[in-house]
Symmetry: C2
Subunit: 214 residues, 2 copies
């Protein structure tokens, strides 16, 4: 599963989007589903997840993390399926490179309609985790480019939390975060005084399968 | 995997313990390992985890959570194995009821020696997650009984974080936690003025496989 920020069609404000794949066979033929597929015996879990994302969207996300293993007995009407779900966050510039086709499309995460299998529940769980992680983590910065303004960080939080935040309070909060570094650069091209650019210096999330020393 | 607090042999202070099972066949015959086994087609993931814990230790933990799915290619020398690991936290009174035998024993989590497969790495990851969760969550209270003193909460934190904490600061911090409720009861049996008992009123962690509405 991939999350990326894209401007909403109406307001132009960033919102969370997610690419889905149309089912071309039963069960749930014709419905949209998360990209995924069987695990090969010679592939690690993150490699299999990356391959699936690449084959459907053409994207190679740099931030990938295990979300959860879903193993309920009735997830598929035809057989028992255990899905080890990975999620990726990609920056808008990466997401803009994604392939779309008749059977692969991006959707607003809050307007999905009915999906195949238990994929609505899986996405709801991912959104819940994302909101929780935003509260104390560095996850927001994986949705942004290398340089960003404090207003852009606030827009990410607003998109994920789905509510408006007080700009002055939020500014104070972010400026107090040790991993946020002020740069000497400013965002060009606006009408007003150009806002300062910041950089995230923290490390990516630990994924035990990716650690070099086990 | 189960964590419980038990008094250390030397100081009597609470430390983290974990039950292990001795391998009675190859690979790794004779080494200690986490309890576990194959998933049946008619069993949910948490049911399979609970069955394994019950069959080895006789315990039926009330707090069970999915830790992580481990799927590296070389985890077993004989075949590809993907392990979806669950962890449970049990209160000392529960842990005291656990069965022990020649092939099932409790070990201090920080003194395990070499275990079968990648189980040292899995336990290291669990300890890392436990320490992270302590920082902002309610997880400490699953290791305590229903009623506890503030000093007992501090001892849990000290056991998990493996360092001493300032009692006055810690007291202030816990008393400011909304889910901690003062009771009218006091711990009996000490030499000094009996300390007040508190109660945790928060809800257990969400496990998506256990949610009633998917």
């Amino acid at each position: 599963m991939i999350f990326a920020l894209r401007p909403s069609e109406r307001s132009g404000r960033p919102t969370l989007w997610i690419p889905l794949v149309r089912r071309i066979r039963e069960p749930f033929k014709g419905l949209w589903a998360l990209p995924g597929g069987p695990l090969s015996h010679t592939e690690s879990l993150p490699d299999a997840a990356l391959r699936n994302l690449r084959e459907t969207t053409g994207l190679a996300p740099s931030y990938l993390e295990q979300l959860y293993a879903f193993g309920g007995l009735h997830r598929s009407p035809t057989q028992r399926v255990v899905s080890i779900v990975y999620w990726a966050l990609v920056q808008p510039t990466e997401a803009a490179l994604a392939d779309e086709s008749e059977n692969v499309k991006w959707f607003r995460a809050d307007r999905l309609g009915e999906l195949a299998f238990d994929h609505n529940a899986i996405i709801d769980y991912a959104l819940w985790r994302l909101r929780n992680k935003m509260a104390y983590g560095s996850i927001a910065y994986h949705l942004l480019g290398e340089y960003f303004t404090l207003a852009q960080v606030r827009e990410v939080y607003e998109a994920v939390l789905d509510r408006e935040l007080d700009p002055a309070n939020f500014r104070r909060h972010v400026k107090a975060t040790p991993e946020i570094e002020e740069t000497d650069q400013y965002l060009q091209g606006g009408k007003h005084r150009p806002p300062r650019l910041y950089r995230f210096t923290g490390r990516p999330g630990l994924d035990p399968d990716n650690r070099s020393t086990p």
